[in-house]
C-alpha cells in the first residue's frame, strides 16, 4: 500500500477529530475528539516510519500514547470537577475565566 493512502486516512481522522472539537457541545465528546486527532497523528507517524524504514515513528507514537493516557486521566478528572461545579458538560457554560 502506498504512503498516500495512510496519509489520506490520517487526514480524514484528523479532520473528523477537529470537527468534533469545534462542533460538539459535550466536554467528554471533546476529549474523545482530541483522542481521535492524536491517533490520526500516530497513524501518520507510523506510516512515515515504515516508509523511511526505521522505528522512530513507532517510538514517538508510544510517547504520544503515554501523553494521551495521562491527558485523558487529567482531562476526565477536570470534567468531573467542572460537572460538580456547574451541573453541565457544555463548554459554553464555562466562560467566566476572562477579563
Amino acid at each position: 500500500m502506498p504512503l498516500g493512502h495512510y496519509l489520506i486516512l490520517s487526514g480524514l481522522l484528523f479532520a473528523i477529530g477537529t470537527a468534533g472539537v469545534f462542533l460538539r457541545r459535550n466536554l467528554i465528546t471533546l476529549l474523545l475528539s482530541v483522542e481521535i486527532m492524536l491517533n490520526a497523528v500516530n497513524l501518520a507517524f507510523v506510516a512515515f516510519g515504515r516508509q523511511q524504514g526505521n522505528v522512530d515513528g513507532q517510538i514517538i507514537t508510544f510517547f504520544v500514547m503515554t501523553v494521551a493516557a495521562a491527558e485523558a486521566a487529567v482531562g476526565l478528572a477536570l470534567v468531573i470537577g467542572l460537572f460538580r461545579h456547574r451541573e453541565s458538560l457544555n463548554p459554553e457554560a464555562f466562560t467566566s475565566l476572562k477579563w
Binding site: 477537529t18 472539537v21 469545534f22 463548554p91 459554553e92 464555562f94 466562560t95 467566566s96 475565566l97 476572562k98 477579563w99
Partner: protein, 662 residues
Amino acid sequence: MLALIPLLPLAGFVVNAAIGRRLSKTVSGSLATGVMALSFVISVMQVLALTGMPAESRQIVQTLYTWIASGDFTLDLTLRLDALSGVMILVVTGIGSLIHLYSTAYMHEETDPDYARYFSYLNLFCFFMLVLVLGSNFLVMFVGWEGVGLCSYLLIGFYYEKQSASDAAKKAFIVNRIGDFAFILGVLLLIVTFNSIDFTTIALAVKQMPVEATFGTLSLATLLLFIGATGKSAQLPLYTWLPDAMEGPTPVSALIHAATMVTAGVYMIGRNALLFEHAPITMGVVATVGVVTALFAGTIGLVQNDIKRVLAYSTVSQLGYMFLAMGAGAFGAGIFHLYTHAFFKACLFLGSGAVIHALHGEQDIRHMGGLKKHLPITYWTFLIASLAISGVPFLAGFFSKDEILFETFLHGYQVLWVIGAITSLLTATYMFRLVHLTFHGDERWHGVASHEAPHLHDAPWPMAAALVVLAFGSVVAGYVNIPHAWGGHTALNQWLEPAFQATNCGQPVTTGELAGMAIENCEPGEAAEAGAHTGLELGLMAVSTLIAFGGIGLATFLWLKNRHIPDRIATQYPGVYRTLLNKYYVDEMYDAAVVQPIKVVSTEGLWRGFDVKVVDGAVIGAGYLVSGVSIVLRLLQNGSVKTYAVSTFAGVVAILAYYLWR
C-alpha cells in the same frame, strides 16, 4: 613667596569654614584679620622688592603648575606681580585688613557660627580678588573674576533669612553672570585670534598690529571684555545690582565697593591697556559709558534717603570716572583714582556702618541728624573722607579726580569733560547733603520707635582704628602722584607706565620709598607735552576746586540752612523728583523688558505650553493609546475554550499554509 599672598586668606577661609563654629569669636576674628595682615606685610615686601628692580624687568613671576596643555596651546597657573598688580594687591590686602579689623567689632552681636561664617566668606573674597589681580593670564583672572562674584553672592545674602537680602544676592549673581558671559566670549575670541591668553603675549602681539580704524576683531573682543567689566564694576546698563548689594553687612559693602570686586573691571582694562588702545572705537564706548554712568548715578544719589544707598550710587558714579579715564587713554589716572577712592570710600562706608551701629540699625538719613557731638570719631573721619571724595584741594580725591578730568580734556574729549565736571558738582552736593543730614542739624532720631532711648556710643576701638587709618589715607594717598603742574613727577603714573605699555624705556632707576619711585622721564615727549600744559592744568584745577566748594556750599545752603527749599523743589517738580527717587525706573524697566517676558514665556509657553501639552501629553497619550487599543483587544478573551481552540487551529493552518506556499 608670591603665592603666599593669596594662599594666606585661603587658609584663613579653610580654617574658619571647617572648624569656625567651634571657635570663639575672638579666635576666628583675629585669625581672619591676622592672615590678611600677614598677607599685607608680604605684599609690601614683594612690592618693595619690585621697586628695587630695573624698570625694564620689573616683575615677579611664579608658575605654580601647567594647567592646560592641549596641542600647541599651553596654559600655566602663573602668578605675576608687576607695577599694576602691585598697586592692586596693596589696596586689596591693606584696605581688606582694615575692613577685617573693623568687622571684628561690627559683627560682634552675631552668634559664633555666623561670626565664623562671615569671616570665612570675607577671607575667601580677598583670596579670589588677589587671584584676579595676580593672575598672569585671562583664565587665572577669570577664576578670581567668578570667585568674587560667588563671594559677593554669599556676603550680600549673609542675612539669608531676610527675603530682600537673598533677593539682592541673587540679583547680584545673575547680573554679574550676564557680564561674565560676554567676558567669556571675549576671552574665547582672544584665544582664537592670538592662540594665547597670557597678558604679556597678547600685549606683545597687539603691539605689532595697526590700530583698528574700523570695527574689527580687536574692537569686538575688547567690547565683549568691557561688557564683562560693566557687570563686575557696576556700569550702565548692568549697575543695578550694586545699590541692592547694600543688603549685606556694612563692612561687606565697604569691601565690595572699595577694595575688591567693583575695581576688577577697571583693573582688567588697565591690564590690557595696549589691547584697548588698539581699539579706539571701544575706548570711545568705555569713556562715554563711564561718564554717562557717573552723571546718571550722581543724580540718583542726590535724592536717596538710605545712608548706604547714597554711598552706593556715589560708588557707581566714581567708577564711572575711572572708566572715563580708562576710555580716554589715561590708564594711570584711572588706577590712581581707583587707589584713592579705595581709601575714602572704605572710610565712608565704615563710617556709615558706625552710624548704623550706634543707631541700632537705622539707615534712613531723615531719622538722623545732630550726631556730630555723639559720635566725634565717626564724624571727623566721615567728614575728611567726604571732603576727599568731593575733590577739595590737598586731599586724595582732588589729585586723582583732577588727573582724570585734565587727561580727558587733554585727549580731546571736551564734552565728556563738561559732563565730568557737572558730576563733580553733584558728588560734592550729595556727599555734603549726607554729611549735613546725618551729623548736623536737629536730632531727628528721638522718638523713632526702633531706638526709643538710644544710648549712643561712638565706634569701639577696632572700628575707630580702621576709620582713623582710612581717614589718614584719604588725606595723604594723593601725594604719590603729584601732578607736573605742581612740580611733581606724577610718580605713580611713571611707575605704572611700563605695565600699560608692556615695555620699558630702559632707564636705570633709583628707587626706594614711594616718593622715590619717580623714574627719569620714560617718554620725554609725553612729559614735555604734559609740562607744556601746566597753565591749562592749573586752570582746570581751579575750576574743579570752585566746583567742589560750590557743591559743598550748595548742599550747606539747601540742606542745613534752608531745609524747606529742597522740599519745595521736590513738590514743585514731583515728576522729576519721583523719577530720581525711583532711580529712573531702571529696575522697573528691566522688570518689564526682561523679567516679565521671561516669566510669561516660561509660564505660558514652556510650562503650560510645552511641558504640560507636549511632554506630559506624549507620556499620558501613550498610556491612553495602550488602554484604548486594549479595550478592543480584550474582547478576544471571551472565556470560551472553543473559540480559543478555533483561533489556535486557524493560526496553525495559517502558519503551515505560509510555509507550504511561500
